[in-house]
Amino acid sequence: MLVIRADLVEQMVAHARRDHPDEACGILAGPDDGSGRPERFVAMENAERSPTFYRFDSMEQLRVYQEMDRNDEVPVVVYHSHTATEPYPSRTDISLASEPFAHYVLIGTRDPEQHELRSYRIVDGEVTEEEVQVVENYMFAHTGTDDVPDPAPRA
């Protein structure tokens, strides 16, 4: 399951709308502590500027990944938009997926009024859709079972 703050969803959707009909892409960085919580919105340039393809600009990607390394962050979410088709990972998305620990968020903008947002894991060519829970903040997000305390974050 992806638990995500509403303000981060709004920023991703706004980016996808702004770049429509080209695909928009970016990441949400979060602490490298196993919590899986996206915290920081980073819109990336789509070097392809295409309605059917995206690729992070290689120099921007290097800067952003080095910044995450310095901050002990990981790309918790990798997002992009599908502007004319269902927000389901395409064969290209699956074959190029390179972040086995990321949530792949797809934003559909084919309907001008109502966006679609779905999240997937893509590992070794296998796609698993997951539930998305949008919360106002993480403090009150329900992430564990009722009776068992959440496990301590891994070191």
């Binding site: 695909e23 892409c25 990441i27 990336m44 392809e48 295409s50 309605p51 059917t52 393809f53 995206y54 690729r55 992070f56 290689s58 120099m59 990607q61 290097l62 990944y65 990981v74 990798v78 992009h80 599908h82 502007t83 004319a84 088709t85 990972p89 395409s90 290209t92 998305d93 190029l96 997926a97 390179s98 972040e99 086995p100 620990f101």
Partner: protein, 92 residues
């Protein structure tokens, strides 16, 4: 001639989980050959038919080697080689 190579998450299965490893070589080609000697299997993830994969970004001292000679890019002693899989995809 030794370089420090940054390994992306998806390739760390080849380096026993290490984020950074040392490799010898004065060109990217030589560095990758040395990487392969110590971390078997990694070369196939980077190179096909004598060229870098299209969807792998490699940087020498923060410069994208695509614009610096590809596999023939010079790697200075003490330099850094950073490997990042391209983040790419799309509806088609």
């Amino acid at each position: 001639m030794s370089a420090t190579v940054s390994i992306p998450t998806i390739l760390r299965t080849h380096t026993g989980g290490e984020k950074q490893v040392k490799a010898e070589g004065s060109t990217l080609q030589e560095v990758i050959t040395d990487l392969e000697a110590n971390h078997p299997g990694i070369k196939d993830r980077l190179v096909t038919d004598g060229a870098l994969h299209r969807f792998v970004n490699v940087y020498v001292n923060d410069e994208d080697v695509r614009f610096a000679g590809g596999l023939d890019a010079q790697v200075p002693d003490g330099g850094t080689v950073t490997i990042l899989p391209a983040v790419a995809g799309g509806a088609r």
